[in-house]
């Protein structure tokens, strides 16, 4: 019998802790498959962050470190400087990366640390129960912006890919999404490219993945996927923001 599809060797057998309809699971799969297909699982050291993906150190079938909130890129810097030939990646949400950890992330990028950041943006703090994130959209209701986020009170959603595209040390930067099969395949290609660039020691790579949080958004899984496409991608347009390889910079 021919095997057409099986779970990636890059994932352990530990059941995922994510809510129904959340696309963290898909993104985990893409990272795991990419590492497996590139033959990098045995070299990989991942850094789990604080948030919904805090348990990713239990899910990825490679060596893992669990970082304090926001510090994943500092940890990854420490790991990579000691193990320059290993593949080092962080897996961070928008609260972890774009709020408390923005300094660590920007400076790792600016040093051109040869690491890969998987940045999962779902515009909300999921783990703590649906508070406003730096990426929360204007008008979006959260438990700490109950009448909707306003520019006057909270500023506008922060655009990480746009900001990081200005940084010299970044070798590859793409914003992708996981709301339909086409976008999922595109996301995988981006993640694979980031790991390939890291293997080729080209510098800092970051893949921003627009993700869902049906439970805290108050939507069913299908409407949540639609909302990413119609509302989130409007504010956070998909695309390649930087590619040092293709431009031969």
């Amino acid at each position: 019998m021919e095997v057409k599809y099986k779970k990636s060797l890059g994932l352990t057998d530990t059941p995922l802790t994510y809510c129904p309809g959340c696309t963290h699971g898909i993104i985990h799969k893409l990272v795991a498959e990419s590492l497996e297909e590139l033959g990098l699982l045995g070299d990989a050291v991942g850094v789990a962050s604080v948030g919904c993906s805090v348990f990713s150190y239990l899910f990825f079938n490679c060596d893992m470190q669990q970082a304090p909130h926001g510090r994943a890129c500092a940890e990854a810097t420490g790991i990579k400087r000691i193990l320059p030939d290993n593949i080092v990646f962080t897996y961070q949400g928008d609260g972890d990366l774009a709020s408390i950890g923005i300094a660590e992330t920007i400076h790792a990028a600016n040093r051109g640390e040869n690491i890969t950041v998987i940045f999962v943006n779902n515009a909300i703090y999921g783990m703590t129960g649906g508070q406003m994130a730096p990426t929360t959209l204007i008008g979006q209701k959260t438990t700490t912006s109950q009448d909707g986020r306003t520019t006057a009170n909270h500023g506008n959603p922060i655009k990480i890919s746009e900001i990081f595209s200005q940084i010299e040390g970044v070798a590859y930067l793409e914003r992708v999404a996981a709301y339909d099969p086409k976008r999922v395949l595109r996301a995988k290609a981006a993640i694979k490219k980031a790991f390939t660039y890291q293997k080729e020691k080209r510098g800092f790579t970051l893949i921003e993945v627009l993700s869902t949080c049906p439970v805290n958004w108050g939507k069913n899984p299908v409407d949540a996927l639609k909302w990413v496409k119609t509302d989130m991608a409007e504010v956070f347009p998909l695309g390649i923001f930087k590619d040092k390889g293709e431009n031969n910079e």
Binding site: N61, D63, Q65, A67, P68, T77, G78, R81, I82, N86
Partner: protein, 355 residues
């Protein structure tokens, strides 16, 4: 063996290289800047890692990552900077990662000042990070002792898989003394770092570095394991010096810069016919509680002397356990006392007694 004149901070940096560090991560702050300055050049010359981090918070987390990857790592800072590192320190204790942290104390609280102080005794021994954890804390009083302790501390950290804090003040960091950088130290064999995240192709199984235990029973078990380690450290790693305690009329307890000043004071007091001894804790945690058993019944009092408002005083009171009267002398904010002030404190001991 040759002796050279060396500044305290530079000696710390040289000792770290002699101690075999693979990486240094730090952030500038006075009065410890000569440490990263020296290492920024010499680590690279030795093909080792030096990174000036964007903050103390980032620096300690780089230390965490590198230690988790199996490296011998160090950071250094001063009082407000050590405050920022407390998060990472707690995580490293929780995840059982070794490192050496150098704290060159300055006056506080807040931005405080940049002159020598000992007001971070609580910060070092009680911690500002969360949870039941302990750092191994050494407080040398000379630059030679600082070098020896630095070199030993990397082995100690690796042996126990726990951070070691070397606590000096700005005076030790900034002054120069004659030292032998290659003075032999007691080496200990350290276990192989089979916990390191070096990639699964380099070891059996999957290695994870982690301090998260959501199940309370698991977390309690983890704390019991850590506590067992701390009890072993208490038994084996307590260091102190006793000077003329056995027939002393008064005993001074002082460490670091303050113990240097008290040595001069004790000499001056001898001329008056008073027998004054000293207990000099070298390890602040574990604190040398047993040393207090050697104080004779005839002793009229114990003077705890610190460049703070009285922090080690707590440990002195605990160790004394009500046996003798305890007095306190302190200067703070960067004020370094003259030996005569200690002489006066002993001569007027009743005024100094802690109520």
């Amino acid at each position: 063996m040759s002796r050279i004149l060396m500044k305290g901070n530079e000696a710390i940096a040289v000792a770290a290289i002699k101690g075999g560090i693979d990486a240094f991560f730090g952030y500038p702050i006075t009065p410890q800047n000569e440490i990263p300055e020296y290492l920024s050049k010499h680590m690279l010359l030795n093909n080792k890692v030096f990174v000036q981090a964007e903050s103390e918070v980032a620096a300690i987390n780089m230390v965490y990552g590198a230690a988790g990857a199996g490296a011998r790592v160090m950071t250094s800072s001063s009082s407000p900077g050590i405050a920022l590192k407390q998060e990472g320190i707690s995580y490293m204790c929780g995840a059982q990662l070794p490192c050496v942290i150098v704290s060159v104390m300055r006056g506080g609280p807040g931005l405080g000042g940049i002159q020598p102080s000992q007001a971070d005794y609580y910060q070092a021994t009680r911690g500002g990070g969360n949870g039941d954890y302990q750092l191994i804390v050494y407080a040398p009083e000379t630059i030679q002792e600082t070098i020896d302790i630095m070199k030993e501390s990397f082995d100690t950290a690796d042996f126990y898989r726990n951070p070691v804090l070397v606590l000096v003040d700005g005076l030790i960091g900034q002054m120069m003394e004659s030292v032998d950088i290659d003075k032999p130290i007691k080496k200990r064999s350290v276990p192989k770092k089979d916990y390191a995240t070096t990639g699964t192709k380099n070891h059996t199984g999957r290695n994870t570095i982690n301090s998260l235990f959501l199940d309370p029973q698991e977390l309690e078990n983890h704390n019991l394991l850590l506590n067992k380690k701390y009890q072993t450290i208490k038994q084996n790693e307590t260091k102190y010096e006793m000077i003329n305690v056995e027939d002393a009329d008064y005993v001074i307890v002082a460490y670091g810069t303050m113990s240097r000043i008290c040595r001069s004071a004790i000499e001056n007091l001898q001329k008056t016919g008073l027998k004054v001894g000293m207990i000099r804790p070298i390890s602040l945690w574990p604190f040398p509680k047993a040393a207090f058993d050697a104080i004779p019944k005839s002793c009229k009092g114990i003077l705890c002397a610190e460049m703070s408002m009285g922090q080690m005083l707590d440990d002195v009171l605990i160790s004394n356990n009500g046996r003798h009267q305890v007095g306190f002398f302190g200067r703070t904010g960067g004020m370094v006392p003259e030996p005569e002030e200690i002489v006066d404190a002993i001569m007027n001991f009743p005024d100094k007694v802690v109520k």
